[in-house]
């Protein structure tokens, strides 16, 4: 990217809409940034010499004689080791009172990894939570969101997972974070003594919503820097991607684009995929793993945002309150880690896959039994046993408040099977049962 030798100032704006303004200017590049009376803007359309700029914080108060200065480049982030421990806004400017970063300027939203240069992910990420490690094992280079209703403690769980994950760097991308949640993250990271492993890009509810659109790209650009140049294992936390998608729809709506399902832009899939696909295991050892949050409305996963997300990510972790035990669990039916096959039974015990599947199947039988009893039918002895099993399984393994080793999770599974069921009811391959089932 070339930078212009001198910066020309334009002062005549032709058109102003809610989100954009247009003016005549020469030699402007597509997606180039500019400032309009100091407000950050980006080129979204060029027709001849008529340039349309999207102003991130909105056009309120912009006069027709505002000063427009083009930067000559797309949005950039200065990257260096100095990023560690720092807090930035959506534009990559420090918000922690510290100095500007002295580093290499890199355009955000850069090119994709050549698929043939990727390495197959193979390193297990242990979180201590059995709903994840046992049933939906995570792997470095994976991308996976929590699907949660807004009242679930998803940020708390995410922070906990991040700290236990043993990543070299944790990059927080906060979009529409409440101030409380922002401070929460700050405190947890500080208390854990992890601040210098953490870089944060934060857009809070007080900031203009459209600015959020820059946050994931900022976070991922920083992540790529540490993963490629320092060969580090980087964990990126993106919360809340639903608010990111909402900002996309605001922009497309203001630009009069034809909406598709749920008022979302027709390009939602590509827009989200572009970000999530930054998750990668590099051949040189570094990796970018993305754990995101997609808040749902009333558990509805058919809404365009969770739906498109599910089609992109490598599974999802579905949070739900289990009324039988009064705790938040990771729902084994609706959660999935698609990369678990790469590690379970290989990096973990050989019996892991079968124990996992069997427990889920028995839990499903318990759900059926519950429905049956709610409909007033008598329960068989087997039904009764599944219900007892389900309660213990939920408490000892599915609840998010546990913190144990994977081996112990598998053993707990076997213990519960043998406590409540016969060998044929357990239905595990004979070989495996003989070897591991008789504790």
């Amino acid at each position: 990217m070339q930078t212009s030798a001198f910066q020309k100032i334009y002062t005549k704006i032709n058109n102003i809409t809610k989100a954009t303004c247009s003016l005549h200017a020469d030699g402007v590049g597509y997606e180039e940034t500019a400032t309009v009376n100091g407000k950050l803007a980006q080129v979204v359309k060029i027709q001849g010499n008529l340039i349309t700029l999207q102003i991130f914080s909105g056009t309120e108060g912009i006069p027709t004689n505002a000063e427009v200065i083009f930067s000559g480049h797309a949005p950039i982030l200065s990257v260096s080791d100095e990023l560690s421990g720092r807090f930035f806004n959506a534009h990559g400017q420090p918000i922690d009172g510290g100095p500007e970063i002295d580093g290499k300027p890199v355009e955000i939203g850069g090119p994709s990894v050549n698929p043939v240069r990727r390495k197959q992910p193979s390193e297990l990420i242990a979180t201590g939570i059995a709903g994840i490690d046992l049933n939906n094992t995570l792997v470095t280079g994976q991308k996976i969101p929590f699907f949660a209703d807004p009242d679930q403690p998803y940020n708390q769980i995410m922070a906990m997972v991040a700290l236990r994950a043993k990543a070299d760097k944790i990059i927080l991308g906060g979009m529409g974070l409440t101030d409380d949640d922002y401070l929460f993250f700050k405190n947890v990271f500080e208390n854990a003594g992890a601040t210098d492993r953490i870089v944060s890009f934060v857009n809070t509810t007080e900031d203009p919503p459209v600015e959020r659109l820059l946050v994931p790209d900022m976070a991922l650009t920083a992540a790529e820097y540490f993963a490629t140049e320092k060969n580090q294992n980087v964990l990126v936390l993106l919360t809340d991607m639903t608010l990111y998608a909402d900002a996309l729809s605001i922009v497309s709506n203001r630009m009069d684009q034809i909406p598709s399902k749920d008022s979302m832009p027709g390009s939602l899939y590509s827009d989200l995929a572009r970000l999530y696909e930054k998750a990668v295991q590099f051949p040189t050892g570094g990796s970018v793993t993305i754990i995101a949050v997609t808040t749902l409305s009333g558990g509805d996963i058919t809404h365009a945002i969770p739906d498109n997300t599910g089609y992109i990510t490598e599974g999802q972790l579905f949070l739900r309150k289990d009324s039988d035990i009064g705790k938040v669990i990771i729902d084994p039916f609706r959660s999935l880690s698609r990369l678990k096959q790469l590690v379970i039974g290989k990096k973990t015990g050989e019996d892991h896959p079968q124990v996992m599947n069997t427990a889920v199947r028995l839990f499903a039988d318990a759900a059926n039994a519950k429905t049956k009893s709610e409909n007033g039918f008598d329960l068989t002895d087997y039904d009764q046993r599944t219900l007892k099993f389900a309660k213990e399984y939920s408490n000892q393994l599915l609840a998010v408040d546990i913190n144990i080793e994977i081996e112990e999770m598998i053993n707990t599974g076997w213990k519960l099977f043998n406590k409540y069921f016969t060998k044929s009811e357990i239905g595990i391959k004979d070989e495996i049962y003989e070897k591991y089932g008789n504790l």
Binding site: G29, I46, P111, V116, K278, T302, D307, Y311, R338
Partner: protein
């Protein structure tokens, strides 16, 4: 190539243009000469050239979709038109390659990240191939006629008269057996005016136009074995057939397609990873070089070509990728080979069309998709098929695409348009996936229209078994009745229905667990040859035909669970192995307890 055509190319080569407008990857170019619809052009941006395709023309303005990010592009940038449409490069060396959607060789690109304008050519110019002539001087040939062959991996790759030729030619000379590179002349033909036309091993063909160098395209009639029981034994597909796999996210579309690509009985597999996850392609890169083709014993990579245009790669190239893949498939079909083409996911291709149509402010159809979406989908599926070539040999392109319906709702434009044209419907159900009943194909709602074809029924009777078709019908019936009885049991209660109802239901569960369900990650269970499928089907149907004696409904569930468990152990054991036989004897004993 005929004289008239090359002249035509020359005129077009001169057309240049200048960028006038930019909206994302839609660029408006003012052209200084003739431009044709779907012509390829290059934007000359600093030292890189960005490839683009003309998608609309008004007056002097060409609307082009750029196959790259347009970041940094400025007005007045020079554009060069090429005079041809997007073309596939066809010749030896395609097999085992990993291409992007525009057939650039991904392995030859430098660096970890994809660079704008890094267009590594599809084939190697300097590689030598062992050529063997198969035509003689004086032979009368037409487009698609086989002139010679080279060994590509182990496959005989035919060198053909280019498809772009028209009419009849005669062979003036043909190269002797020996080593040649793709650009060496391996034959010289005379056209009707005795002009000499040199032929090399490589030719080009516009991807959006079907290759029709065959004699006829009858209805397909040969079963294509996939090793997947719920397909072969319940909803079989045929060589040259079409099928589609719709399903909500996470229900197993990709796992199923990967299973097909590993096991299906085809000479060549082409996988178009179209707008999906890069890690899924990486899985193929990692696994296929290690896995054996069960039929030839060679590595799977040797029969596979991958077109990877994953979701983070340029959207416009996503649309092109399925056409590139289909053109390659048609090329190999013309060599008399059986090709299986898999595309995951055709919905992403449709979405690419939607994004562009919206940018051009076209009047939208349902769900903002372009109005002509149904026609585009149906034209594409129509390119699959079983063909008789002009030399009497046959070849086929079987196409199976996945569909990712928004919200998992099958009443959406892509699913509906596809359902009208694809003859096999493999509906994945969320419910089955949730209860881990994999593959989650809903066997009752799914169908294969081919079982109704008398040609296929005849083929099956002659080549597989007399009873196969009847067994399919019976198994489906058992499943339907099982579902009905399950509902009745649920409404009336366990003890208010006759014990026979429970038996009826559990017999359908036996079909479900033993035939439908199949563990794609178990080395033995993953693939079941037809003979074994028949054997197990007979076993299961035999269980269905027996009348078991039960005192109360409570005995039914545990009893059938034992049956299912033993049958599953059989599925997990090597066919007819000692272990298999032990479980089989165990099964007989269990059955005898109650008959």
């Amino acid at each position: 190539m005929s004289v008239r055509k090359s002249k035509f190319n020359k005129i077009k080569m001169n057309t240049k243009g200048k960028v006038k407008g930019i909206i994302a990857n839609l660029v408006i170019v003012e052209a200084d000469g003739p431009v044709s619809q779907n012509e390829i052009c290059y934007i000359i941006m600093y030292d890189v050239k960005l490839m683009a395709e003309v998608i609309k023309i008004t007056g002097n303005n060409a609307y082009i979709q750029v196959f790259e990010s347009t970041r940094g592009l400025k007005v007045n940038t020079i554009v060069e038109f090429t005079g041809h449409m997007l073309e596939a490069t066809l010749g030896p060396g395609i097999l085992s390659k990993n291409f992007d959607g525009l057939q650039h060789d991904l392995d030859k690109m430098e660096g970890i990240f994809l660079k704008k304008g890094d267009y590594a050519p599809a084939l190697e110019d300097d590689k030598l191939w062992e050529f063997k002539p198969i035509s003689d001087i004086g032979d009368i040939v037409i487009p698609g006629s086989w002139l010679g062959e080279v060994k590509e991996n182990w496959m005989p790759h035919k060198i053909m008269v280019p498809f772009k030729f028209q009419g009849k030619y005669s062979v003036k000379s043909i190269a002797a057996a020996g080593k040649y590179s793709i650009n060496d002349t391996i034959a010289v033909l005379y056209d009707s005016n005795k002009n000499e036309i040199p032929i090399t091993m490589v030719q080009k063909w516009p991807v959006k136009i079907p290759i029709k160098a065959y004699k006829k395209k009858p209805r397909p009639f040969k079963l294509m074995e996939t090793g997947i029981r719920v397909i072969d034994s319940l909803n079989p597909i045929v060589e040259g057939g079409t099928g589609f796999i719709p399903g909500p996210f996470g229900t197993g579309k990709t796992v199923l397609q990967h299973a097909l690509s590993k096991q299906a009985e085809a000479d060549m597999i082409i996988i178009a990873a179209c707008g999906e996850r890069a890690n899924e392609v990486v899985e193929i890169f990692a696994e296929f070089p290690k896995l054996d083709d069960p039929r030839t014993g060679r590595k799977l990579t040797e029969r596979t070509t991958i077109i990877a245009n994953t979701s983070n790669m340029p959207v416009a190239a996503r649309e092109a990728s399925v056409y590139t893949a289909m053109t390659i498939a048609e090329y190999y079909r013309s060599m008399g080979l059986k090709i299986l083409l898999l595309a995951d996911s055709t919905s992403r291709w449709a979405q690419a069309l939607r994004e562009m149509s919206n940018r051009m402010e076209e009047l939208p159809g349902p769900d903002a998709f372009p109005m002509d979406l149904p026609a585009i989908i149906s034209n594409f599926y129509a390119r699959a098929g079983f063909v008789y070539l002009n030399n009497g040999k046959s070849g086929s392109v079987t196409f199976i695409g996945t569909v990712s319906p928004a919200g998992g709702n099958l009443k959406e434009p892509v699913t509906e348009s596809t359902k009208k044209v694809a003859r096999c419907f493999y509906a994945l159900s969320q419910e089955r996936a949730d209860s881990k009943r994999y593959p989650a194909i809903e066997a009752v709602d799914s169908y294969s229209k081919y079982i109704e074809y008398p040609e296929l029924q005849k083929y099956i009777k002659e080549n597989i078994s007399e009873k196969w078709v009847d067994n399919i019908m019976l198994a489906k019936n058992i499943l339907i009745r099982g579902k009905e009885t399950y509902e009745q049991i649920n409404i009336l209660g366990n003890d208010s229905v006759p014990v026979d109802y429970h038996q009826q239901f559990w017999k359908s569960e036996v079909v479900d667990f033993v035939i439908l369900q199949q563990d794609a990650f178990d080395t033995v269970d993953a693939s079941t040859p037809i003979e074994r499928q028949q054997y197990m089907m007979e076993k299961v149907l035999n269980i269905y035909r027996l009348n078991f004696k039960f005192e109360s409904f409570e005995e039914v569930n545990p009893y059938f669970k034992r049956i299912i468990n033993t049958c599953k152990q059989m599925n997990y054991s090597k066919y007819k192995s000692k272990k298999f036989k032990i479980f089989e004897t165990e099964l007989e004993e269990i059955i005898q307890e109650r008959t």
